[in-house]
């Protein structure tokens, strides 16, 4: 289906440029939309100057304390993912548009029915000198899917029939799937689907991966030191050493960056960004479209089981005010659909604007005059409580009385999954297809809007059985139109993900939503 371009180790930027051009050529709607915001230039070449070898980069992340582990399949936090990315590889990973691009897999090829995929591996070696083989791939996937374990990527690998999958030869894996899956590469790129050596179980004392960096030392909750892997298949990193440090407080990450104790600080606040942007002391990097910000309406219970009420809620929202107030302006307005700027995003739909008259009219028609609803929120994510307060005031203008209820931070997601009627919701970047399959199908395990529609499920299956990409894009567009008119997610914005770097740091990708390949990717970064 798609043959990966051959990487040229001398020009790391070229490979990505090649890929994006190729994707733009074949993809329909989604990829065309993408051209506007992604541009042709390779992200890795950004920042100016000629890459220089050597040096040590220290990166501060919020971490998980003493319970951190280097087991890549247990990766749960951004810090875990960043460390796993340095030590290990996946078969594929997501580009800035959330389309899967090949990594350890050199190519993938489906059969006619789209339920058997042949994946050919590129020549790569683990840090112990052994080649990455089909056996390692199957071991890794079987470990993740182990029914007795609870690895995060397990749900993503669900379509695979690993018993029937086999190694055709040393470098070829034949994956059997339970049903046609046109978006199979997304599975290979799933969060946490890293390839580890056959039989590996201990990752904290001496993890062996095939990634751009080799293990040096690790103290959970404090520091992980890695050094350059000169034999890396995608070209050796420029940095000699990479150290991940843990600082849970945003102020601590910022202070250590300002004080020259680290060169890279992950996850800063919009206020910090505004205070330091363009001041010359540090560089602020905004990764656009990283986090969807929404209110989730439970479509299976009153008052939101009436689609007129849902539409009224879409219309009584002033998105600009929410972005400015709750995200301090660090983001873009949403259009009630997930995945702005991603592959297959339906960007042809008109931007929804506040229309109080029509909202009132719809509420009246639905017999929901003087409606009272409780909006669940919590300090679990940035902007949640602020957005709830702003929305309460906006709703009041249409005569809807919103009561804001504060919930526990640590159990919020589980609490709001099944209970309540309206809650603040957020999502990191993932392909639009994954958003559908994980949250909007009748059988989805985290269906926060209780969107259960047989015809919607059928459309999803149809898309997955459609080999032609343009036809598939058309089906996705239909699904999105449906969600746009009567879905349960009131997507009011997309938040930037904000990083800070020292002025000497070059090559940090600016167009990589959190969770994508180029986000927290240090093998293309150098110190000037």
């Amino acid at each position: 289906m798609y043959e990966g371009p051959v990487p040229d180790p001398r020009f790391p930027g070229l490979r990505r440029r090649g890929f994006l051009a190729a994707a733009g050529g074949v993809a329909g709607l989604g990829a065309l939309a993408l051209a506007g915001c992604t541009g042709p230039a390779g992200d890795a070449a950004e920042g100016g100057g000629k890459p220089r070898r050597g040096g040590k980069l220290r990166a501060a992340f919020a971490g998980g304390g003493a319970s951190e582990t280097l087991d890549p399949h247990l990766a749960n936090l951004f810090a875990d993912a960043a460390r796993a990315k340095a030590l290990f590889d996946k078969l594929a990973d997501f580009g800035a548009d959330l389309a899967a691009e090949p990594r350890l897999a050199a190519s993938w090829e489906p059969n006619a029915a789209l339920d058997r995929w042949t994946v050919r591996l590129r020549k790569a070696t683990f840090h112990n000198g052994k080649p990455v083989t089909a056996r390692d791939v199957l071991y890794s996937f079987r470990r993740i899917a182990d029914p007795k374990k609870a690895f995060r990527a397990k749900a993503s690998l669900e379509p695979l029939d690993l018993k029937a999958s086999r190694a055709a030869d040393e470098h070829t894996v034949e994956f059997a799937l339970k049903r046609p899956t046109a978006e199979f590469p997304n599975i290979l790129a799933a969060f946490g689907a890293y390839i580890v050596p056959d039989g590996a179980t201990d990752f904290d004392t001496k993890p062996v991966g095939s990634g751009p960096f080799r293990f040096v030392s690790f103290t959970p909750g404090r520091s992980a030191v890695f050094r350059r892997n000169d034999d890396y298949w995608d070209g050796a990193p420029y940095l000699e050493q990479l150290e991940f440090l843990v600082a849970n407080e945003e102020s601590a990450r910022l202070n250590s960056l300002l004080g020259g104790q680290v060169e890279y600080a992950h996850e800063l606040t919009p206020t910090t960004a505004r205070a330091h942007e363009g001041r010359g002391q540090i560089e602020i990097v905004r990764l656009r479209n990283s986090a969807m910000q929404a209110f989730a309406m439970k479509t299976d219970r009153p008052p939101f089981d009436d689609k007129r009420v849902r539409e009224a809620f879409f219309l009584l929202t002033d998105r600009k005010e929410l972005v400015d107030g709750a995200l301090s302006g660090a983001g873009e307005i949403g259009n009630d659909l997930f995945g702005k700027g991603y592959e297959y995003y339906a960007d042809g739909l008109p931007q929804r604007e506040q229309d109080l008259d029509r909202a009132r009219h719809l509420l009246k028609k639905a017999g929901a005059d003087g409606l009272r609803v409780t909006l669940d929120t919590s300090a679990v994510a940035a902007g949640f409580t602020e957005s709830a307060a702003i929305f309460r005031d906006q709703a009041a203008k249409a005569g809807v009385r919103v009561k804001v209820a504060m919930g526990s931070k640590d159990s919020y997601w589980q609490d709001t999954l099944d209970s309540g009627t309206l809650c603040c919701y957020r999502s990191g970047a993932m392909p639009i297809e994954s958003h559908f399959s994980q949250r909007l199908l009748s059988g989805s395990t985290t269906n926060a809007t209780k969107w259960h529609h047989k015809d919607f499920d059928a459309l999803y299956q149809q898309a997955q059985s459609t080999r032609n990409k343009e036809d598939r894009a058309a089906v996705y567009a239909r699904m999105q139109r449906r969600l746009y008119t009567e879905g349960g997610f009131l997507v009011w914005g997309f938040a930037d993900w904000i990083l800070g770097t020292a002025r000497t740091v070059r090559g940090v990708a600016h167009r990589a939503p959190a969770n994508t390949l180029d986000w927290a990717r240090f093998d293309k970064v150098w110190l000037a």
């Binding site: 319970s67 951190e68 582990t69 202070n255 104790q261 159990s411 997601w413 395990t445």
Partner: protein, 317 residues
């Protein structure tokens, strides 16, 4: 001496009982928190199947009393159990976090007593005069500033504006002693409040002692001022201060959370914060045992100290 021994035995037994009570209370409170380790681990992917699987792997599906019993049985063998989130032994968590916290506490204690006693005595000597009023109002003012605000203030001025000191201890790991500059601000923040409270206690005790009949008697014998103050009056003034000092150590061990978070010092406070966020009950319990024992031992020590300083006052058990 037999009186002291039976007093000690009673105190140790009481302390053990207190520790058990603390552990039980902590267990009950953690159980009462919404959500458990499985929910916390699942985060924003609260897939019910995954939560159930995590629960089963962590044995969280067993009833609370069984888990408590299993943990207590292990404790009798000196086994603090294993963390729910990482599967590593709790003792390794404590060992890792103990070093930095102990270092901070020890440094603070070491630097705490001389200025506190000095300030207290100085203020007492100038009772009612300008110096006394100055010391009293400054100590009261500093005492009123929360650690976090004080820390941020110092950090902004001395680390970020002037660049004299490193803003955090990020990246220094265990080897904090090799980077003494990183310890200055945390220790100053930790010192700020105890110095004030202790100085005020010493001042009050000293004024009382200096006015007491036995000091007046000593004065009549012509004992010189310095000896009078330091050998005769000060021990009496220190008795309440010793109790306060024990409480300060408690606070140092348990209450450095703010300082650890602000300056990124990976001590017990950080371990505790993460463990609570993750509902990692065995780690929380382990910390409760350690904190409980420390508190009991320290208070015992303080009472013993008071006994030594002022043998005439009867020590209440």
């Amino acid at each position: 001496m037999t009186g002291l021994r039976s007093w000690l035995v009673r105190r140790v037994l009481l302390g053990a009982g207190q520790t058990v009570a603390v552990v039980l209370l902590v267990f009950a409170l953690t159980e009462a928190l919404p959500g458990d380790a499985a929910v916390a681990l699942a985060g924003d992917q609260p897939d019910p199947g995954r939560i159930a699987a995590i629960r089963e792997t962590l044995h969280l599906d067993r009833p609370a009393h069984e888990r408590l019993a299993a943990w207590a049985a292990g404790l009798l063998h000196g086994d603090l159990g294993t963390s729910l989130t990482s599967g590593r032994p709790v003792s390794s968590y404590l060992a890792d976090g103990f070093g930095p916290t102990l270092l901070l506490a020890a440094l603070t204690l070491l630097l705490l007593v001389p200025p506190a006693v000095g300030l207290g005595v100085l203020a007492a000597r100038h009772e009612g005069r300008l110096l006394d009023r100055l010391i009293s109002s400054v100590t009261l003012a500093v005492y009123a500033v929360p650690e976090f605000a004080f820390g941020v203030l110092l950090l902004t001025v001395f680390a970020l504006r002037l660049g004299w000191l490193p803003p955090t201890a990020v990246g220094y790991g265990d080897d904090l002693l090799a980077h003494p500059a990183a310890l200055v601000l945390p220790v100053v923040v930790l010192l700020s409040r105890p110095v004030c409270s202790l100085a005020r206690l010493v001042r009050a005790g000293m004024i009382e002692a200096l006015a007491s009949p036995y000091v007046a008697q000593a004065r009549r014998y012509g004992i010189p001022g310095a000896r009078l103050r330091y050998a005769h009056a000060l021990p009496n003034a220190l008795a309440p201060a010793a109790q306060q000092l024990a409480r300060t150590v408690d606070w140092l061990l348990c209450g450095v959370i703010v300082v650890e978070a602000l300056f990124v010092i990976p001590g017990l406070g950080t371990v505790l914060m993460n463990a609570v966020a993750e509902r990692d009950v065995p780690v929380i319990q382990g910390l409760a045992v350690v904190f409980g024992c420390t508190a009991v031992v320290l208070n015992l020590g303080a009472d013993l100290g008071t006994y030594r300083l002022v043998p005439r006052t009867a020590v209440a058990a």
